[in-house]
Amino acid sequence: MILSDLIHKKVLDAEGTVVGNLVDVRFVIDGAPGQLLASARLHGIIVSRGTASTFLGYERNSANSPFILAKFLEWRHRGSFLVRWRDIAMIDDAVHLRASFQRLSPNLPQNRS
C-alpha cells in the first residue's frame, strides 16, 4: 500500500457512519535503529471533517504566525482528529475504525530537539 491509496479516503466508524476524510498520516521515529535515524513507524491517521486540504504545517503547536493565517487554518480544520493505527479495523474503499477508537488531538507538540 502506498500513501496515495489512503489519502482522501472516507473514514467510517464501527456503525458505518462517515466521520470524515483521511487527510494525512503521522509517523513516529522509534523503530529499529538505522544509520542516521531510527526507522519510522506509522502511528496513526489524521481525519478531517470539513476539508480535504492540508494543514500547511500549522498542525504543529510551534507554528502560530502570522496570527490571522494560523487562526484561519485552525478554523478550516476544526473538528479534525488523530486516530491511532491500531484503532483501524479494515481498509477497503473506505477506512473502517474499531468501535473503541479515540479522537486524539491532531496537534503536534513542541519540537523537543
Binding site: L56, R60, S62, P66, F67
Partner: protein
C-alpha cells in the same frame, strides 16, 4: 566596487522584473497614455516585491532551500503543479519575448533584421547559461543594465513642468488623456503583476543558493533587495515620465521599442542614444538569462532533480536540458513572426494563478521556526505580508475580467 558587485544579484533580478522588454514597452505605453497617474502602482509593487523577495532570500540563506522547493513541500503535489504550470508558462512567454527583445534592441543598433538576430541571441543566452560562472554572469549583466539610469537623467535634461508631473503622481489625470477607468485598472494590475512576477523570487532565492549565502549573508541579502528593486521601480517610473513629457503632448502612441528611445534622443542626443541602446540589450539579455534559468530552477526544484550552475552541466543534466528545450521553444514561437512584445500580453492571466500560490508558501515558511530558528518573520513583516496577500488575491481575481472587458488594454 566590491560592495556594488555584491548587489548584482538584486539588480539583475529587478531588471528582469521591471525592465524586461514587455515592461520597457508597457511603461512607455502607460506614460504616453496615463501620464504618471499610475506611479503609485509601481510604489505598491516595489514595496511588495521587497517584502517577499527579502523573505525568500532569508529562507534561502538560513535553510539553503530555494523558493520552489518550499512551494512543492508546503502546497503538496497538486496545488504546486498548478503553480508550476502557470509559472512555467509565464516564464516561457517572457523568455520568448526577451529573445525577441534582444533582437529588437540589436536591430535598433545595427539595422539588421531581428529575424536574423534571434538565433544569435538564443545561442548567446545558452552559452552563458552553459559556460559562464553565476557570479560573472550577474555582475556583467547587472552593471551593464545600470546604463538604463540614462532614463532618470533624461527626465532632468528634458526640463519638464515638475508641478504637472507631481500632480499626476498624486492622481490628477493629464489634460490630454481620456482613458476609461477599466483600462486604467487593467494597466494598474499589469504593472503590479510585472513588479511582483514570480520568477523574480525563484531566481533571487535560487541565486542565493548558487552564491552559497548563509546566515552571515543576511545583511547582504537585505541590501540586495533594498537597492535592486527600488532602483528597478524608479527606472520604470523614469521611462513612463520620459514618455509623458515627450510623447503624451504630441499624441504619439507607443507600439515598439524605438518610441521608448525617442525621448532619450531628444534629451541627450547621439551619446545618450548609444547608452540607452546598450541598456536595452543588457536589460533584455539579463531578463532572458533570468527567465531561462528560472525555467530550469522551477522544474528541477519541483521534481527534485539536481540543479544549479554551481554544478557542472553533466551533474545537473535535466536542469540544463530543460533550459535548452525552453530556448528552442522560444525560438520556434518567434520563427512564426509573432510580435515579441505581444507575447507577454497574456502572461497577466497566468500570473494571476501563480502569484498567490507563490507568495503564500513563502510567507508560511518564513514563519516556520523549524526552518528559520530565530530568523522567523517579525510582527511588522507579517502584518504587511498579510495585507499584500490580500492585495495579490484581489488583483488575481480582477485580472482576467478586466482583461476581457478592456480587450487587453486596447
Amino acid at each position: 566596487m566590491k560592495k556594488l558587485l555584491g548587489l548584482a544579484l538584486g539588480i539583475l533580478t529587478a531588471i528582469g522584473g521591471f525592465l524586461d522588454i514587455g515592461d520597457l514597452v508597457t511603461n512607455g505605453v502607460v506614460g504616453s497614455r496615463f501620464g504618471l497617474t499610475l506611479g503609485w502602482v509601481v510604489l505598491v509593487g516595489v514595496v511588495g516585491i521587497c517584502l517577499f523577495a527579502q523573505m525568500s532570500g532569508r529562507v534561502a540563506a538560513v535553510s539553503g532551500r530555494a523558493t520552489f522547493e518550499i512551494i512543492r513541500e508546503r502546497l503538496g503535489a497538486r496545488a504546486s503543479m498548478a503553480n508550476l504550470g502557470a509559472s512555467f508558462i509565464v516564464n516561457l512567454m517572457t523568455l520568448t519575448a526577451e529573445i525577441g527583445g534582444i533582437a529588437l534592441s540589436l536591430q535598433l543598433a545595427s539595422s539588421i533584421s531581428p529575424m536574423l538576430w534571434m538565433p544569435v541571441a538564443a545561442v548567446a543566452v545558452w552559452i552563458v547559461v552553459w559556460r559562464v560562472k553565476f557570479s560573472i554572469m550577474e555582475n556583467v549583466t547587472g552593471l551593464l543594465g545600470l546604463t538604463l539610469i540614462v532614463f532618470a537623467v533624461a527626465v532632468f535634461l528634458l526640463h519638464p513642468n515638475w508641478l504637472d508631473l507631481g500632480s499626476q503622481l498624486l492622481g490628477q489625470a493629464p489634460k490630454q488623456s481620456s482613458e476609461s477607468p477599466a483600462t486604467y485598472w487593467y494597466y494598474a494590475i499589469a504593472l503590479f503583476g510585472a513588479a511582483m512576477t514570480p520568477y523574480e523570487v525563484f531566481f533571487f532565492s535560487s541565486g542565493a543558493v548558487e552564491e552559497k549565502w548563509t546566515v552571515k549573508d543576511l545583511a547582504q541579502s537585505r541590501m540586495n533587495v533594498l537597492v535592486g528593486f527600488p532602483l528597478g521601480g524608479i527606472l520604470s517610473i523614469a521611462i513612463a515620465a520620459c514618455a509623458t513629457i515627450v510623447l503624451l503632448p504630441k499624441n504619439i502612441a507607443v507600439t515598439s521599442l524605438s518610441e521608448i528611445a525617442l525621448p532619450i534622443a531628444q534629451a541627450g542626443g547621439k551619446i545618450a542614444l548609444i547608452i540607452v541602446l546598450l541598456g536595452f540589450v543588457a536589460a533584455t539579455f539579463g531578463a532572458a538569462l533570468e527567465t531561462t534559468l528560472s525555467s530550469g530552477y522551477t522544474l528541477a526544484q519541483y521534481f527534485g532533480w539536481s540543479w544549479g550552475k554551481f554544478r557542472r552541466p553533466a551533474r545537473a543534466a535535466r536542469f540544463h536540458l530543460t533550459m535548452i528545450i525552453a530556448l528552442i521553444i522560444g525560438l520556434a514561437v518567434l520563427a512564426t513572426g509573432v510580435d515579441p512584445i505581444a507575447v507577454t500580453e497574456f502572461s497577466v492571466v497566468f500570473s494571476a494563478i501563480a502569484l498567490p500560490l507563490t507568495y503564500l508558501p513563502i510567507l508560511i515558511v518564513a514563519n516556520d521556526p523549524q526552518y528559520m530558528g530565530k530568523f522567523v518573520n517579525g510582527k511588522a513583516t507579517n502584518f504587511f505580508g498579510m495585507i499584500y496577500l490580500v492585495i495579490i488575491l484581489v488583483a488575481s481575481l480582477a485580472a482576467i475580467p478586466l482583461m476581457i472587458v478592456t480587450g487587453a488594454g486596447a
